[in-house]
Symmetry: C2
Subunit: 176 residues, 2 copies
């Protein structure tokens, strides 16, 4: 039985002026609620890393979890959540980073990732790259190795691909 691949861009909804005027938001919820589209996205992302000996898949809350948890299972790797301050109950490493307005922080459990482990960092969307850079820094703070960063979507032209170039970014879907 042959299966035709879906055009996943058909399942991304453009929402203008969200969260602020002038921003075109790429809404992934139509893809998530379509069983074949979501399955295809996970399978194609997992295929890209099938031989990369990934030991841990790490992702920041909340949308990152939607792709990272299934990818961890597909790759037979562990899943490690990276969270906003005050959410993780055990001792953490914290990383503070600049936003357009103000600063933000992310944390990971100090025993979440072991030194030397091969880690894939995952998120739904790469824009300016601030969040994923924070995640990669936290992985390195644990003494582990970022072998790549995988995204469902990359928005080219916002500088994210260049900013995290050293962490080998890759996206299933790209927008100019």
């Amino acid at each position: 039985m042959s299966e035709t691949a879906l055009d996943l861009k058909q399942f991304i909804r453009d929402v203008p002026d969200f969260p602020r005027p002038g921003i075109l938001f790429r809404d992934i919820t139509p893809l998530l609620r379509h069983p074949q589209a979501f399955r295809q996205a996970i399978d194609q992302m997992a295929w890209r890393y099938r031989d990369a000996q990934v030991e841990v898949v790490a992702a920041a809350e909340a949308r990152g979890f939607i792709f990272a948890a299934p990818l961890a299972l597909e790759l037979q790797a562990g899943f490690v959540p990276i969270r906003k301050p005050g959410k993780l109950p055990f001792d953490t490493h914290a990383f503070h980073y600049e936003l357009e307005y103000g600063t933000d922080s992310l944390e990971v459990h100090i025993d979440g990732i072991e030194p030397g482990q091969r880690v894939l960092v995952v998120d739904d969307l790469l824009a300016t790259g601030g969040t994923v850079e924070a995640c990669c820094q936290l992985v390195q703070r644990c003494g582990a190795q970022v072998i790549g960063c995988a995204f469902l979507i990359a928005l080219k032209g916002l500088g994210g691909l260049e900013r995290v170039r050293r962490y080998r970014p890759w996206a299933l879907i790209e927008y100019d």
Copy 2:
């Protein structure tokens, strides 16, 4: 080749006095970062609903996503995120509910779940049941049917199982 099932409770870490003095927090991160334990948990949760004709798996951010996304894929169902206010870009139904101190809200896209669909609501942990009840109410607001609520962990004695009894709660792991 036979495989011995793991005792998943061995992968839940007790953290006393988190997030407040007197609270014993059940930390699931050791389970998540152990590939076999996470796989077994998802397989056993999916097995429970294999014949339930689930069309949509819905979950509130953030930890709910970690179990709901893989379960949606296993059950060949769609995944619908339920989020805090201001996070979903399209038109939403909102549900406001009481917390111990103050109130909280959750939202779902108005086109996230179709009328009549069979929906499984998922979360990592059932305590007092406030969050899952809000999720179930939102599913019904869409005109859909909650066929059950599945949790990795249920804390008995906090009233959650009784509170959401009409939504048929079930947990893989129970604590008294």
